[in-house]
């Protein structure tokens, strides 16, 4: 399956990446599994994606890391929001 992954703010800076389009194994079915997979890219990735304040969204909705992912989804990782 193909998914798009976006990174914002501190997380974007830490992994030096704004966006990825990934072809994933069908067995990789949750955000948590995706984080573990991305963590294999290096220490900076592992550290950024294991931060206790990390927020994750699937298709622009904030979710827990146990949330499922499927073909065509857009997943995003970012720190707590500071709008207004």
């Amino acid at each position: 399956m193909t998914i798009t992954v976006k990174f914002f703010s501190l997380i974007r800076e830490a992994v030096e990446t704004e966006q990825l389009v990934l072809e994933l194994n069908e067995k990789l079915t949750t955000v948590e599994a995706l984080k573990n997979e991305l963590g294999l890219r290096g220490e900076a990735w592992k550290e950024a994606l294991s931060h206790p304040n990390l927020i994750q969204a699937v298709n622009q909705r904030v979710v827990f890391q146990e949330e499922g992912i499927s073909d065509g989804d857009e997943v995003a990782f970012f720190p707590p929001m500071t709008g207004g």
């Binding site: 970012f78 707590p80 929001m81 500071t82 709008g83």
Partner: protein, 154 residues
Amino acid sequence: MLVHVTDEAIDPGELATRFYRSHPDAAVATFAGFVRDFNDDGQVDSLYLECYVEMATRVLNDLGKTAQERFGLRAWQIVHRFGQMETEDPIVFVAASADHRGEAFAGCEFVMDTLKTDAPFWKREHSGDEGQWVTVKAVDKDRRERWSTEGLDQ
């Protein structure tokens, strides 16, 4: 346009005037937020506001609809800027109209208190050559949480 997320300059005065004309209801409350020139550490020269535009648009739409339902608003509007800004530049504009002032004020305040922590924007303040990401303030969390508690008897 109920929600507008833009990297272009916004004019709260013009937005308010248009809103008043389009929604001549009994009570209209508006709020405008501007880039401050100070933080806890001293002077701020400029602000970069990063945004996840697609999600911000969705979150602000959901927020406006929730406010409309919760406070019986007749109309509402949320405009949020992102990108590079200077001090005193407008960042956000919120308007809410209702039959009575209490609902209009509450709708406006609820939207602002909630979007601070729930809409995907991230502030980076610059002072001289130094830049730092702004962290969530306890007061913002408290104000957001207050609406969750008060929501039980609304």
